[in-house]
């Protein structure tokens, strides 16, 4: 199990260009999406069955800034920047809890990049133009096994027909195309499906998070041409596995950014709110949890940058590094979210306070692509080896 052998450069690959992208994003987003506006936009109603909120003007601006193109290869019209640039950007996206399908589209980008089919390249070009794309790869149990799916595919007369349902599809109502994992006799493959194709039915989930949407996508005999297949049956799992670390890190970056907001906002409250004639932060029961939030965030952030560098430069370390980062970030997010509400006291428990928006976004991020203990079980396989076969006899 030789991991972490590659020596990192001082800047962990974080070039001037990447730093500028991050800084610019931070300034822009702070100006473009102040907290009150975000709250009004996503939390204007408490009705959980409300229409999907999608600020298309905001998305248009995001597209004009070229952010969906950051990770698209130059050959497809994108900027082809390294992953560390993307995670820096997504940290800023998390910091403002951006209610746009950028993370989902980035995850789809990562999968498309790992497929060589021309149609994958075509869709990447569309992403550069601002088309939101999402992955439809999860079964009814929310499994992250690359082989699991409840969608079947069948070939006949040069056409492919998809039947079944993908669950927990991120930004299902915003995506214009789905990358669908489907089962054939030879294994699972990946297929591009237009969200408006006949037979595609999107059933929105009522979800807790207010800053995204999720749904199940029913494929009721959806017919697509042969070139919609971007990973042949039996090759889908491999394509997903190659993209997986980037997907884990996208969500990790969002969590790190959101948690930094939680930390700074709660620290600000502790500096200003007075109880017992003292600012709250005087009390170690407030101060020390805030410090523990900071420690947890910095661990996750360090692992994030470390793993992003590995993705770009040391592929053999990538899976371990990315899972470590996601595991750390998931537990960190749970802790920071809980403390952000608790330390705000009563006000933190209200709909009116923005703390709830981040709490819910983080709760979703925690489980997406597998929570901390899930990642650790996979890591244990790699770091300690598989469990010896003998089962039972625990006492």
């Amino acid at each position: 199990m030789p991991v972490h052998t590659a020596i990192r450069p001082d800047d962990l690959g974080f070039s001037d260009e990447a730093a500028m992208l991050k800084q610019t994003a931070r300034k822009l987003l702070a100006r473009r999406l102040p907290l009150e506006q975000l709250h009004k936009h996503v939390a204007g109603t408490i009705d959980p069955t409300r229409e999907c909120v999608f600020d298309r003007d905001l998305w248009t601006e995001v597209v004009e800034l070229g952010w969906p193109a950051v990770a698209v290869p130059k050959a497809c019209g994108g900027f082809g920047m390294p992953l560390c640039a993307m995670v820096g950007l997504l940290e800023e996206v998390g910091r403002v809890a951006l209610p746009c399908p950028l993370v989902a589209t980035f995850c789809a980008t990562a999968v498309l990049r790992s497929c060589r089919a021309p149609s994958a390249h075509e869709l990447l070009k569309k992403i550069v133009d601002g088309t939101p794309v999402s992955l439809a790869i999860t079964n009814r149990h929310g499994s992250w096994d690359h082989e699991d799916t409840d969608v079947r595919v069948r070939a006949s007369a040069g056409l492919l027909t998809l039947e079944g349902t993908a669950h927990y599809v991120q930004e299902a109502q915003k995506a214009e195309f789905f990358v669908v994992k489907a089962q054939a006799a030879e294994g699972v493959g990946l297929y591009i499906v237009d969200a408006r194709a006949p037979g595609v039915r999107i059933v929105p989930d009522a979800i807790v998070d207010l800053t995204r949407d999720q749904g199940q996508v029913d494929f009721g005999g959806v017919t697509v041409p042969a070139h919609a297949c971007i990973a042949k049956p039996g090759e889908g799992a491999k394509a997903l596995a190659a993209a997986w670390p980037a997907m884990l890190l996208a969500v990790t970056a969002d969590m790190v950014g959101a948690a930094e907001w939680q930390l700074q906002t709660t620290a600000e409250y502790a500096r200003t709110r007075v109880q017992f004639d003292r600012p709250l932060g005087f009390f170690q029961a407030v101060k020390h949890p805030l410090v523990d939030m900071m420690l947890a965030i910095d661990e996750a952030r360090s692992l994030l940058y470390d793993a992003a560098w590995a993705y770009d430069h040391a592929p053999e370390e990538t899976d371990v590094c990315a899972r470590m980062a996601k595991a750390s970030a998931s537990d960190m997010a749970a802790y920071c979210s809980g403390r952000s509400v608790q330390l705000h006291g009563g006000i933190g428990f209200t709909w009116e306070c923005a703390v709830q928006l981040y709490f819910k976004r983080q709760k979703h991020n925690e489980v997406l692509f597998g929570d901390g203990s899930f990642q650790r079980a996979v890591l244990a396989e790699q770091l300690l080896g598989p469990i010896a076969a003998v089962a039972g006899a625990e006492s």
Partner: protein
């Protein structure tokens, strides 16, 4: 403060007497035949989240029936509408819980107003108010917290101004459960700006009757999107001296009696059902339901109940639950404890944190299903995300967990005050 002014509660008898046994059997028999049928609408997880009139009516009728049967208010004197017994409420509560009875809706009245009135009220106040609390004829709410007085309760700024022989009240109360249904409120207000503690007085004020005439109730929306808490604004409500509980300037002392009972540390046992963990409550809020949940959820290709790390977490919670219940039991017996308040004062902290951690582990077991809102059609695995968020109401309200730890450290371990 204030605690030492309480009349001594009778010391519990060391062993069950025959009379206790007879009373227990009475409770059991009555409960076996008189539990209300389940409503054809949903009930919230606790009384402070009652949101509709039909919920309140159903629960009010239930409390009234249990009161008429002698299971509520057993330890209050008969002249105040009580059962005239001693040490029987704890037995009734155990039986109510074992029977899986619904909770009692007049929770603020029973747990806070009645003991405060009993210990500090005039004879007239006791006769006027306690019976209606026990029978749920009059619903009560609590007006302590304010935007600037959360953990630092003594910082209350609501002001009752003396004008002739009347008190004129202005102020802003928050986190007021049940205010939208309440007939009365226990109100902590300032009557003297010169003294932080001695400037506080305690009032029993009408709410329902005064709506629009000096009182306004506005719903506060919780992070879950749910209702239950309110803001109550006082803009010149006038009351007489009969609204004062105890003397002017004694408000802090009365508030301490109130909170002592709310925290389970007072001499009077609060009538209650379904607020512990036994019976149905354990299945829907406590860890008792987690094994079944884990068997029904798939995690990494197998039942979550077969994942040893999940199993370890569930068993941890089941141990804490069992420990909590055993502590409740032990708290009833003086020989089995070392300090009179040590166990009682743990109750709220232990329960609220256990339920929070339970909900968090439940969400972990659910995996992606925990992203779903409780309104999601076909969500069968329970509303755990909702309960998890809601659990912060309990670790914050009625003294945050941080304040509870201060109280335990200061009162039981004798450590220096942290403020």
């Amino acid at each position: 403060m204030g605690v030492s002014t309480l009349p001594h509660a009778p010391v519990g008898e060391p062993l069950s007497s025959c009379d206790d046994t007879a009373f227990r059997m009475h409770c059991r028999t009555w409960l076996a035949g008189n539990l209300p049928p389940p409503p054809n609408f949903g009930l919230p997880v606790s009384a402070i989240e009652i949101a509709s009139d039909e919920q309140l009516t159903y629960l009010r009728n239930w409390q009234r029936a249990a009161y008429d049967a002698g299971l509520v208010g057993c330890d209050y004197p008969a002249c105040y509408g009580g059962g005239g017994r001693t040490d029987c409420q704890a037995i009734a509560n155990e039986e109510l819980r074992s029977a899986g009875a619904p909770y009692l809706p007049n929770i603020v009245g029973l747990g806070m107003a009645a003991p405060a009135i009993y210990h500090h009220g005039t004879e007239a106040q006791k006769r006027r108010f306690i019976p209606g609390i026990l029978s749920a004829d009059e619903i009560w709410c609590q007006g302590f917290s304010e935007p600037g007085a959360g953990s630092d309760l003594a910082n209350v700024q609501a002001f009752a101004e003396r004008r002739d022989d009347r008190w004129v009240i202005h102020g802003h109360k928050v986190w007021t459960s049940l205010a939208q249904f309440a007939d009365w409120m226990i109100l902590l207000a300032r009557t003297d700006r010169g003294h932080k503690y001695r400037g506080l007085s305690y009032f029993l004020v009408p709410i329902a009757a005064a709506l629009g005439r000096g009182v306004e109730v506005r719903p506060l929306i919780k992070m879950t999107g749910g209702l239950g808490f309110n803001e109550v604004l006082f803009d010149g409500l006038e009351v007489g001296d009969d609204a004062l509980l105890d003397q002017p300037g004694r408000g802090w002392s009365v508030a301490m009696t109130t909170l002592l009972h709310e925290r389970g540390g007072g001499p009077l046992v609060t009538p209650g059902a379904g607020v512990g963990l036994a019976g149905d409550a354990s299945q829907t809020r406590g860890p008792g339901g987690l094994p079944a949940l884990a068997r029904s959820c798939v995690r990494a290709g197998r039942a979550a109940a077969d994942d040893p790390v999940i199993r370890d977490k569930i068993v941890r919670l089941l141990i804490r639950e069992r420990g909590f219940l055993a502590t409740e039991h032990r708290a009833g017996h003086p020989v089995l404890q070392e300090h009179p308040q040590r166990l009682q004062l743990q109750h709220k902290l232990l329960l609220s944190e256990l339920l929070q951690d339970t909900a968090r582990v439940a969400c972990e077991i659910q995996g992606m299903a925990s992203t779903l809102h409780r309104s999601h059609p076909g969500l069968v695995a329970g509303e755990w995300s909702h309960k998890y968020m809601n659990s912060y109401g309990f670790t914050i309200a009625a003294g945050t967990s941080e304040v509870q730890r201060n109280i335990l450290g200061e009162r039981v371990l004798g450590l220096a005050k942290s403020k």
